[in-house]
Amino acid sequence: MASALINVPARAKRGEIIEVKTLISHPMETGYRRTQLGAAIPRDIIRLFVCAYNGTEVFRAELHPAIAANPFIVFSTVATESGTLAFHWTGDNGFSATESAAIAVD
């Protein structure tokens, strides 16, 4: 279960700065909490988020335990050419999620 919401403008002018919003469903369990019986709850977080624009990495973020559940990551990039923005989240327990969005640049 990994659902994500992506917001990339469908069209942009060449050279325009565009805003990219990503939201992914993830508990981001810190690893510092305990159950009511005192057992440690193991850490389960997203460690890395990468965005590639037509294969070129344009944004990368390392995530840490203090980041809230369902991380919302917003960044900007320059619209250079028509193509695809590919998003990749990886984390603990083999977590891996991929999404992509198309953009038309004129």
């Binding site: 279960m1 659902s3 994500a4 919401l5 992506i6 917001n7 919003k21 939201l23 992914i24 469903s25 981001m28 809230a68 559940a69 369902n70 919302f72």
Partner: protein, 260 residues
């Protein structure tokens, strides 16, 4: 003579103040919790790609179309496209269920359908699947006014809910209306006291880092006044939900809302 008159005036003023405080919020002064939020939190709710509640809506949509239970039926097999068939449903709940002889909330209605039509086990309160389905159904009522049908069968439950709302409980000996009717807009430990209109449930609370139902919120509030919270699905909670929705009648559904 003068002092007696002055005393009389003072008593009159106290009585007047008491009657003013005991009143409901006038219709023109009712505000959704949205009104009391920061611009940042509002922006989060307004943008469907920033609103984390939409993650549950997305999941609810896939559950809506999944065949389950011994009957092997999906919600969509009977109800079709939820965008049409579920429009306004959340704005009418809790609603009176003739078979059970009492009002049921949206979560209970969904579970009733699972048991009776899909022959599937009911989903637990606050489970991810039940929240997702409820969020998906409630989303279809966004922008519609709350419109409960209160007939003679539902009236006693509405009255009971109102009585619970005004009954002092817990170690702090507080009733819901003492904060939410009499002191809304003022601060309680740094937080603005909202008017308690359930316009956006199930909603994403930043404090929870999750979506949650109105009953979860009510149980939080009860724990806050150091009362023993009613169990999920308890008649008292459904009656309270019914009263709160009736109190917010005509206000617009925002589900899934975001709250601090």
């Amino acid at each position: 003579m003068l002092s007696v008159r002055r005393l009389g005036a003072a008593v009159g003023a106290v009585a007047l103040a008491a009657s003013v405080f005991a009143a409901e919020i006038p219709r023109a002064e009712r505000r959704s919790g949205y009104h009391f939020m920061s611009p940042q939190t509002r922006a989060m709710q307004d943008d469907d790609t920033a609103n984390p509640g939409m993650l549950w809506v997305l999941e609810g949509e896939s559950l809506w179309n999944r065949k389950i239970g011994a009957a092997g039926r999906a919600c969509a097999d009977c109800h079709g496209d939820a965008r049409a068939s579920m429009k306004g449903v959340a704005a009418r709940h809790p609603s009176f269920d003739a078979a059970q002889g009492r009002p049921v909330n949206l979560e209970q209605r969904i579970n009733r359908c699972r048991i009776d039509r899909q022959k599937a086990p009911p989903l637990a309160y606050e489970s991810r699947d039940l929240l997702a389905l409820t969020a998906y159904v409630a989303r279809q009522s966004r922008g519609l006014p709350i419109d409960l049908a209160i007939d003679s069968r539902a009236q006693p439950f509405l009255d009971a809910g109102g009585a619970t709302f005004r009954r002092r409980q817990g170690q702090l000996n507080l009733a819901c209306n003492q904060c939410h009717d009499d002191n809304w807009g003022r601060r309680l430990a740094g937080n603005v006291i909202p008017q308690a209109h359930p316009t956006g449930y199930p909603l994403y609370r930043l404090e929870w880092q999750s979506l949650g139902s109105l009953q979860r919120r009510l149980r939080n509030c009860l724990a806050g006044i150091r009362a023993e919270p009613y169990e999920y699905g308890a008649p008292e909670l459904v009656e309270l939900e019914l009263y709160l929705m009736w109190r917010a009648r005509g206000m617009t559904i925002e589900a899934p809302a975001v709250r601090p």
